[in-house]
């Protein structure tokens, strides 16, 4: 599959945007400006950018918390994301939720529940709706390696496979579930082996190669759209920060980080673009400048945004309010 030059540039833009937006969030966190915690996808950005960029506009995603690239690619603006982190009214959820607990149905992004793999069956359900209605849409969902040990992961794979649903499941295998390494999480070598039990086809891809992730996703969506059922895609990568920004991750051997530093997804993409004449140094610089400007603007917007009123906490519980009864 040939990937168009423009697409390659967009993938690079979103990789950089994801990396630098999250770095800015980390810096705001260190300045004490973030009201709660901060989680990043540092080192694993190629996964969320690659699989979401391969989707069509009408498709939906049920992401997890190392999926900042999904939110950005789907069109949720950095302004709203930084404001979300700062607990402002202009944030994606108006202050009801914080940080990476983002969802906006207008962009086909389902909210992320902290309980990992909860979004797997939810994505399968959206795919079921598409199948019932005969629509050529697909659903994509992801979780970490840790989440693949939960029941919802297995129930979703089984459900989707039995019903041949147009859904693609991704695993951001970043080798640690918080502090617990893979070998203490599962007795198998590859997470993808889990899909064998459900007769679901799987792929293993270099999670640091955004073009590879994009291509393998595109193929899986094509199959799903054609009624050929779900695919499980394991993206092998390495989490380069702690579980969250408060966590120094001293449990990760330094050599492992050194080794993966050389495989950094942005470095990899830069080299690929330049070596194959898909982009010039100047083009990349222009993209970097755009990324920088967008982030500056987002931070300024968020910091100047108002907080919600405290009493908004008890508003908006129901989509269909009960007229007669004051519930709160």
């Amino acid at each position: 599959m040939d990937v168009e030059r423009d697409t390659l540039h967009q993938l690079y833009y979103y990789l950089k945007l994801t990396r630098h937006l999250e770095e800015r969030i980390t810096s705001l966190y260190r300045q004490g400006k973030i009201v709660g915690g901060a989680w990043t996808s540092n080192g694993t950005e190629a996964i969320s950018v690659g699989y979401s960029y391969a989707l069509e506009k009408d498709d939906v995603t049920a992401p997890y918390f190392r999926d900042m690239g999904v939110f950005l690619v789907r069109g949720i603006t950095p302004r709203r994301i930084v404001a979300q982190y700062l607990g402002r009214k202009t944030g994606v959820t108006g202050g009801k939720e914080g940080n990476v607990h983002i969802g906006d149905i207008n962009f086909g992004c389902f909210g992320f529940p902290s309980h990992l793999a909860d979004n797997y069956p939810v994505a399968a359900g959206a795919a079921l709706a598409f199948k019932i209605r005969g629509e050529k849409r697909v659903a994509a969902s992801s979780t970490g390696d840790g989440g693949t040990s939960r029941g919802d992961f297995h129930e979703a794979l089984n459900f989707a496979s039995v019903l041949k649903l147009p859904v693609v499941f991704f695993c951001n295998n970043n080798q640690y579930a918080y502090s617990t390494p893979l070998e203490k999480q599962m007795a198998i070598k590859d997470v993808a082996e889990r899909s064998l039990a459900y007769a679901m086809p799987s792929e293993i891809v270099d999670g640091n190669d955004v073009v590879a992730v994009y291509k393998v996703s595109k193929e899986a969506y094509k199959k799903a759209r054609a009624g050929e059922g779900p695919t499980f895609i394991e993206c092998k990568t390495m989490r380069m920060h702690g579980h969250s920004e408060h966590d120094a991750a001293k449990y990760v051997p330094r050599e492992l980080l050194e080794e993966w530093k050389k495989k950094d997804p942005i470095l990899k993409m830069e080299n690929y673009l330049l070596e194959n004449n898909h982009a010039s140094e100047n083009e990349l610089k222009d993209i970097d400048k755009r990324v920088h400007d967008v982030i500056e603007d987002a931070e300024e917007f968020a910091e100047n945004s108002p907080y919600p009123d405290g009493k908004e906490a008890v508003e908006g519980l129901y989509a269909t309010p009960i007229e007669k009864v004051k519930t709160l």
Partner: protein, 324 residues
């Protein structure tokens, strides 16, 4: 109007909503070819096809999560829990995903979970529970528990048309034991409205589900002693119709809260707390609770009978309260 059973009323509501709106579909264990463990979905697989009356693998969390996902893209799924007891397997999807979607990020989640609940059928600890209390403590859900066929039909239609997640507690003991004339035309019973099923002057019995019928029987037994019960059927447990409850308390000044669930920390406790908090000055006596004890549901008939609130318990409590 035709007389139909409680289970027929639920069947009718589902059938009519499926015909009215293509986005309504049913999923759960054995709901398709078999027609449901309680025959609620009988004939629907043949009529609406295998995708809209979907037999699922045995995975409550999986198919409840799937219902949530389908609802987020415009469907109105009706999930059948084979027994309400098995809803615990889907607890996380219900309380963390469905209940919080709209509040957290504006995700409309119009799902209905049908939960056949309650005892008196010799089902033991895992086929007899009243789990409404688990969900009563979860903001974002709506909980309904009809006691009559007409309410079951109208409330199920309202639940399906509502944009929020609704758990529909249908009492298994009532399925084929009560009949009532039910309107044949399309109607809904609004969620959030209690109903005075019997007017009375001396004591308000606040109740719901199968216990409404226990209260009605107790009321007959009390005629001789001249104690008049006003019976308030909550119908919706969340959000609770405080107004109707308080109006009744203001009228009778005495209250019994009657419920089949275990005693502590549930709907009954909340009703008692609300009354003492907001209409305390109208009370002429203590608020009495009649409930199941705080144990699992026992199997052997004498034990289950001892466990479940009985007509005599209501009579005894009413006589005690009347003395105030």
């Amino acid at each position: 109007m035709k007389e139909i059973t409680y289970v027929e009323a639920i069947h009718q509501a589902l059938w009519e909503e499926m015909e009215r709106d293509d986005s309504v579909f049913i999923l759960g264990e054995d709901v398709g070819i078999y027609g449901g463990a309680f025959r609620v979905t009988e004939g629907m697989y043949e009529k609406f096809g295998e995708l809209r009356v979907l037999d699922t693998p045995l995975s409550e969390s999986g198919f409840t999560g799937a219902a949530i996902g389908a609802s987020l893209v415009g469907m109105r799924p009706v999930v059948e829990m084979q027994f309400a007891d098995f809803i615990s397997c889907a607890f996380d999807q219900i309380v963390n995903v469905a209940a919080k979607n709209y509040y957290r990020w504006g995700g409309k989640t119009p799902i209905v979970i049908r939960a056949p609940y309650g005892g008196n059928i010799h089902g033991g600890a895992f086929h007899s529970q009243c789990p409404e209390g688990w969900f009563f403590h979860t903001p974002g859900l709506k909980l309904v528990a009809p006691a009559f066929p007409s309410d079951a039909k109208g409330l199920l239609k309202a639940a399906i048309r509502d944009d929020d997640p609704v758990i529909f507690f249908e009492h298994k003991f009532l399925y084929r034991r009560i009949k009532e004339e039910v309107p044949e035309d399309d109607y809904v019973i609004p969620i959030g409205e209690a109903r005075i099923v019997q007017e009375g002057s001396d004591i308000s019995v606040i109740t719901y589900g199968a216990m409404v019928h226990t209260a009605l029987e107790a009321s007959k037994n009390l005629e001789e002693s001249g104690i008049s019960l006003e019976i308030v059927d909550l119908r919706t447990l969340m959000p609770l119709d405080k107004e109707t409850v308080f109006d009744s308390v203001k009228k009778t000044n005495k209250v019994i809260v009657l419920y089949e669930a275990t005693r502590s920390g549930g709907v009954g406790a909340e009703v008692a707390a609300l009354i003492s908090e907001e209409v305390f000055n109208y009370l002429d006596g203590p608020i009495l609770r009649i409930s199941a004890p705080d144990t699992p549901v026992p199997y052997s008939p004498p034990m289950e009978e001892y466990y479940l609130p009985q007509v005599e318990d209501v009579v005894e409590a009413a006589e005690k309260l009347a003395a105030y």
